[in-house]
Symmetry: C2
Subunit: 352 residues, 2 copies
Amino acid sequence: MAASPQSATQPPQTDPTLIFEHFRGSYGTELLTVAVAHFNLFGQLATGSKRFDELRQDLQLEPRPANVLVTALLAMQLIRRTPDDRIELTPMAAEHLTPGTTFDVSDYVGLAAMAPGVVEMAERLRTNRPAGVDEEDGAAFIYRDGIKSAMESEALARHFTMALAGRAKNVAPLVAARVPLNGATRILDIGGGTGIYSIAMLQKHPQLSAVVLDRAEVLKVAAEMAEEYGVVDRLELLEGDMFSDPLPTDCQLVLLSNILHDWDVPQCKQLVQRSADVLPHGGRVLIHDVFLDDDLGGPLPIALYSAALFTLTEGRAYSQSEYRSWMHEAGLKTEAMIPTLVHCGIVPGTKS
Amino acid sequence: MAASPQSATQPPQTDPTLIFEHFRGSYGTELLTVAVAHFNLFGQLATGSKRFDELRQDLQLEPRPANVLVTALLAMQLIRRTPDDRIELTPMAAEHLTPGTTFDVSDYVGLAAMAPGVVEMAERLRTNRPAGVDEEDGAAFIYRDGIKSAMESEALARHFTMALAGRAKNVAPLVAARVPLNGATRILDIGGGTGIYSIAMLQKHPQLSAVVLDRAEVLKVAAEMAEEYGVVDRLELLEGDMFSDPLPTDCQLVLLSNILHDWDVPQCKQLVQRSADVLPHGGRVLIHDVFLDDDLGGPLPIALYSAALFTLTEGRAYSQSEYRSWMHEAGLKTEAMIPTLVHCGIVPGTKS
């Protein structure tokens, strides 16, 4: 007798969010210490406020790393925005992080300046390149044409895909429970990995079918999952490059679940546009992700997750406002965000 | 004309505590990841609760590292104490950190298993030896006979002493303002470093004199500070080993400010006893330090600071209850804790 299929629609009884928050504390240590001991950021602002672009150029940082660093320091209440959108020190940072002043604790923070994680973070910020991308295995979590990626190796792709699925398995039941299909009969799950989000939706809606688009090595894991969860007959696995290969045109719903945060702004716009393009009128794009505040000033747990995404991928965390602007550019009308779990939520956009 | 002396009695206008909390986030990442990926701690508790000593022996940990790890995981709400003083998983950890269960995120956390800070923390916990003590420069922040110490090198002693003084300069004005002398005319500042706490008290009380006991290389910095703060004529600098050299017997007040947290329990007891022994009846010992809750279950910022102390010294953070028990053993009658700044407070004890 075959084992009965596992359920992907039953949510966890407890919220694991705190575990992820404790797990990411190191990014706070690293960004604070880099700002103090590698970039003299507080010294640079001690003489007066600067516009973001001015500060970024003084620090010789590209927009992506500058965003990650500034967002974290805003969330830590060490810098703040003035009414005319300049960046200044908070009173706390002015008193305690201005080098050479009476109550300055920069040298205390500087004791960690040469810790390996801090040195690595300084390097990532300076080069704007994810960890591993210049090494033998390649970047751990992402694939696009032209970069080295561990996602081309079966063993590594399986390892990373399964590890990330630990979080996704907690969140997928909430996605399935809270997304109304609005008549959709087939969904396209772009970069869907294990396919767990699609699997949850297929279990929830017996008439639905789905296509998961991802790399071949990743889809081997998805195939096992489809078996385990009993949805093989309704889950198509499509090998391809989401940036360059033609996308299926027979779906009414496109899911971009925890995918856009792996990519920089031009790639995000491209993926949102490509998603909108293959939909019929009335079809919907669902962006399922974490969201920074619209002023990119926090909250702190998302700012630290953004730092994690920054160091491991070509992306960062974005605000709802950023996602909505790309959706509007792509001809989508957006609706209110639907929260799921572990900081995540869904922004739906309908093709008019 | 000589510059007018600096003031050590004016407190900062803003509270720098948050800076230190952000700075120590990495210890949360490291202890959580070590527990998950190096010690299988949650797997060991998944089959049932254990007494602290049982868990400690299963993990093959000495009491000090076991205390640091367990305190942090209690503070993170991943384990908890049962009414009969056993340790069990919280529902959150049982659901999300028990290896192999549906909502387990251990493999996600395990992605950081080989990060240098995590590997280093695992090594510190296993060996119960502070960082650097087996290397050329020696341990950074502590000296006792029989261990290698950077405090014997002039350049390193100056660097570490000055860096730590950044925090002490913020706290010293509060110590001076809040400690009543009760008629004391001379204080002994054991392991006083830059002497900043004594300096603040000397500035506050013009009739007071003080002796700072520390290593010769550290006292070179204290001598400059005494000059800068204009208290040279009332501040004696005494080179010595606080564990083995005779202590001055002409003081009515002994200050142990952020010193005991550098040492393990036997050394702490010894220092408290030696402090009490040189006092006249009615004299007082002041323990100025951070305090864990009496059940050693938090708060989280002190649990993470405890991990910092653990990795850098032979100590950890202690509870008021632990300090009070050593003071009582030494014949001191303790009074209510007086808070100062940056998590610190003073527990006074009077010799009866």
